[in-house]
């Protein structure tokens, strides 16, 4: 406590001193200066500095105005961000120049009114408003995937584009939005047109006065990139020009630089050329002012990212080549000679954008398809190096760099067998998003069965939900009614015997005969197989588990009525070595007492390694014949397992598994009670393929209804 107040006291003393320094005597003589000082002391250091700066400039304008500003300043900061405060002060000064002190003081004193207007104008464009668009736009432009992040400056480290948290340079929101787009595009152009090739970065770092040179290099690159964009993206080029500052002095310097750097504007000019030219500008003290969309350069940040990535991608590339060879060998069994040779040939090289180059790959002289991830990898390597160096072409089993995740989890290799229960072990690949490739046969999964429990649970549930069950049954019966056999059709799959007999009778008696003699089913023939995948992770303990079991009971009643084929499996596990699915009801099985007892016996187990469960159950589902196949997951949260399977990794693997089964023709759907699911489910399952249920007890009511909507 004492420390705190002492600290506060010191703060106030410092603020008072700074304020005096910035604004001279006049402010300090204000009657309520003590209160003001302690209010100012509460502001963030940045805001304080900003305030003192304003004081300095106001003290050169007018003392009265300054005093009134200091009086209102704490309030102003509580109402507006510093940009707003700046505009407020600027506004007052302009008013002072044009209309005199009175009007200016009025503006300062009516700070509340000003702040309201400022926020209403809505001229600002925030990062959050622009980021989705920018991400899509930049992806469309091409090249390796770039992340977006907020920073006080605009720059790129070749992995992320750093952008300010808002732009309000222009009085129109649209223009500020465009400024975002163009700033991002300019940074994208650096990554696309080779500003940060590894050779360039190394060269910059070797020079002495790095910062000086970097600033000039930046300007020269602006010239080169602008010319590239003019050639490749003329529409964008026009938008850039429209955004340029009108300021004539700056324009003159730019024009001078451009004419001296004419060779950078020619097609084929490289970043190394810009770097070479820097020396020719050694004498230049005044640099052309950066346009609002031209960012800064931070070569050290680039270097960190670049060196790590180059090393990683080299290994990824080499091991991908090895995979190709392994695949080939496994096809041509027996003839396992190690001398397979992979060759790579550049077949299409577009001016500039290195990520756009096309390669042809051949294995022992035979042209092979380049797998997609290898294609991306090639693109990314080209962006960094501009070529694929010789030594990259040496296939390599396993780099030391990879498999960090494996180390954690593969220690207990014998674990699987020691479990006592024998049974088939299924192995599945797992998608490793950091390496952008599969960990082959990484997960071991077993099918276990659930111990039977008392089946009273089922009866109790049926009684508890008597009302809802009735209405579920009614709606489902209505669905069935839609699918009747249609008789007396002009054509169809079967003969309508009644009609034939009628028409035979007509024929015999000499009447005109009908041609409507066929039967056919209506279009919407129900031919559905559905797999329910029940989350049995530890987190479902309690309510969730009860709600899951109750939902299943209701579902089974409904499905029995519909006649859809269905299976129910639980899933859980701990690490990739012990992935487990629990049989509750198989496809061929009847909804028997045994199944009821299993439903009743579902209990929470361990973690949620979702990808492998999806792959396995998707596989089972695929073995059944049905026109429509659904995999419905009931879950309570995001995929998470012990030992590295979490966050992005878990989500990416799950997403990948879902894509795989989608490719195989299965519709995945997820019903969850995780309120945060909006963050990750749309990404994994797709925008329309999930439902979030906000309260656990509602689950049983909702699930049957969701199923109806899904299948009609």
């Amino acid at each position: 406590m004492i420390d705190n107040s002492k600290q506060n006291f010191l703060n106030r003393v410092r603020v008072q001193k700074d304020l005096e320094g910035a604004s001279g005597e006049s402010a300090v003589n204000l009657t309520n200066i003590d209160t003001l000082v302690s209010e100012i002391a509460e502001l963030t250091p940045e805001d304080q500095q900003f305030l003192f700066e304003q004081c300095r400039s106001l003290s050169e304008t007018n003392d009265e105005l300054l005093k009134s500003f200091v009086t209102q300043a704490p309030k102003a900061f509580s109402l507006m961000a510093s940009k707003g405060v700046q505009q407020w002060v600027d506004n007052a000064i302009t008013m002072y120049d044009n209309k005199g002190l009175g009007s200016a003081v009025e503006i300062i004193e009516q700070v509340e009114q000003y702040a309201e207007e400022y926020s209403n104008r809505g001229i600002r464009c925030d990062f959050d408003e622009a980021s989705t668009f920018i991400r899509n736009f930049v992806t469309g432009l091409g090249g390796r995937e770039l992340k977006l992040a907020v920073d006080s400056e605009s720059f790129t480290d070749t992995e992320s584009l750093y952008l300010p948290d808002s732009f309000d340079l222009f009085p129109v929101a649209d223009k500020n939005f465009s400024l975002y787009k163009l700033t991002a595009t300019h940074l994208w152009a650096q990554t696309w047109y080779g500003t940060w090739r590894s050779k360039v970065v190394e060269k910059i770092l070797k020079t002495s006065d790095t910062n000086q040179r970097l600033a000039k290099f930046n300007r020269l690159e602006c010239i080169r990139l602008e010319a590239q964009i003019e050639r490749d993206l003329p529409g964008l080029y026009r938008q850039f020009r429209a955004m340029d500052s009108e300021e004539t002095e700056g324009k003159k310097i730019w024009d001078d630089w451009k004419s001296r750097a004419a060779r950078l504007q020619r097609p084929g000019a490289k970043a190394l050329d810009s770097l070479e030219l820097v020396d020719e500008f050694a004498e230049d003290i005044v640099l052309p002012p950066l346009q609002p969309y031209q960012g800064e350069m931070h070569v050290n940040r680039v270097y960190e990212i670049l060196s790590e990535r180059i090393e990683r991608e080299k290994e990824e590339f080499q091991s991908a080549l090895q995979d190709l060879i392994d695949d080939e060998n496994s096809l041509t069994e027996g003839t396992e000679d190690a001398s397979k040779k992979i060759e790579l040939e550049l077949i299409e090289d577009e001016d500039g954008g290195a990520g756009d180059t096309k390669f042809q790959m051949s294995l022992d002289g035979e042209i092979i398809n380049i797998p997609e991830h290898l294609q991306d990898l090639l693109g990314s390597i080209m962006q960094d190096l501009g070529e694929i160096p010789e030594d990259y072409m040496e296939p390599n089993e396993n780099g030391e760099y990879s498999d960090k995740l494996t180390e954690q989890t593969e220690t207990d290799e014998n674990d699987v067998a020691s479990d006592g229960e024998d049974g088939e072990i299924f192995r599945y690949d797992e998608w490793d998003c950091t390496r952008q490739r599969f960990r082959q046969r990484f997960c071991s999964l077993r099918e276990l069965s659930i111990p039977l429990a008392e089946s009273e649970f089922v009866d109790e549930t049926l009684i508890k939900y008597k009302g809802i069950l009735k209405s579920i049954k009614r709606t489902f019966e209505a669905i069935l009614g839609e699918n009747r056999l249609q008789r007396r059709q002009l054509d169809g799959d079967g003969i309508d015997l009644d009609a034939v007999i009628d028409s035979f009778a007509d024929l015999v008696s000499g009447n005109e005969t009908s041609e409507y003699l066929y039967t056919r089913y209506r279009n919407k023939e129900r031919n559905i197989a559905v797999m329910f995948m029940i989350d049995m992770s530890g987190s479902t303990l309690g309510w969730v588990n009860d709600a899951e079991r109750e939902s299943l009971v209701l579902l089974c009643e409904a499905l029995e009525l519909l006649g859809d084929r269905y299976a129910i499996y639980g899933f859980s596990g701990r690490t990739n070595k012990r992935c487990e699915v629990y049989k509750i009801k198989e496809f061929g099985q009847k909804y028997s007492d045994e199944v009821k007892q299993r439903i009743s016996g579902i209990r929470p187990k361990a973690y949620t390694r979702m990808g492998v469960a999806i792959r396995h159950l998707g596989h089972l589902l695929n073995q059944t014949q049905a026109r429509t196949k659904l995999l419905i997951t009931l879950s309570d949260g995001r995929p998470e397992d012990y030992g590295g399977y979490k966050g992005k990794y878990g989500i990416e693997d799950t997403r990948h598994a879902l894509l795989e089964i989608k490719q195989a023709g299965i519709h995945p759907f997820c019903i969850t009670i995780d309120n945060e699911a909006q963050d990750y489910l749309p990404y994994m399952y797709g925008k329309v393929n999930y439902a979030v249920i906000d309260e656990v007890p509602k689950l049983p009511y909702k699930v049957a209804d969701i199923y109806r909507r899904l299948t009609t």
Partner: protein, 271 residues
Amino acid sequence: MPVEETIKTSQHFVEKEPYYEAINDEVDVFSAAYNNHLPILLKGPTGCGKTRFIEYMAWKLQRPMVTVACHDDLTASDLIGRYLVKGGQTVWVDGPLTDAVRNGSICYLDEVVEARKDTSVVIHPLCDDRRILPIEKLGELMQAPPEFCLAISYNPGYQSVLKDLKQSTRQRFVAIEFTYPDSDTELKIILQESQVDKKLGEKIVKFGRMTRNLKGSGLDEGASTRLLVNAGKLIQDGIKPVVATDTAIAHALTDDPDMLQAVHELSRSIF
């Protein structure tokens, strides 16, 4: 709909050489498969030239061709034929497949996965080395002549459940995979088909690539060659490029406002 129309076959000789730009060695592969009486599976995303290719091959091999656009109500009898009652008498009418087998044509089942599953019953025996078509209702086993050829198409990119091709079916075919052509070839196609000038054509190709970059990051599929050709045609007809790409491409690809905006801006950045 009158009965005669549902079973009328679209068998015809392709008289004029269709414009087809070979993308790979598909022409040779198809010819070889044809010579060896092997059925052919054309696999690839929509609008990449599969239909055009088969027309070209029919012309090249000088065979009549029958195209059946499969839909989810198409049954085996629709392919084989059926008895119809006409004025008190029953008449047998060949379906398009029977017709093709009889005449030694090329039969092209477009989007075969759309058809009912029972169609595989008739397709399978035609596709192994027996090459027979069982016509149950006539009690007949029809032997396909050497000139007969069955080709089916299939788009593996669809994520819908209804559109998966069974292993037992696909493993009977020689599969030719189609992808979007490389930039130069695609440019040639666009120039030829839409008659735009080279400079515009190049921009259209570039734009196509950008939309394909977005595949998987918001778009299910990038713009197909067909869509690019369509946009070219609109532009050639005086529509502003950005409007043409919006209408012929962007809205054909997606309804998502975010994606529409991105695709629109990408177009603006090129044209």
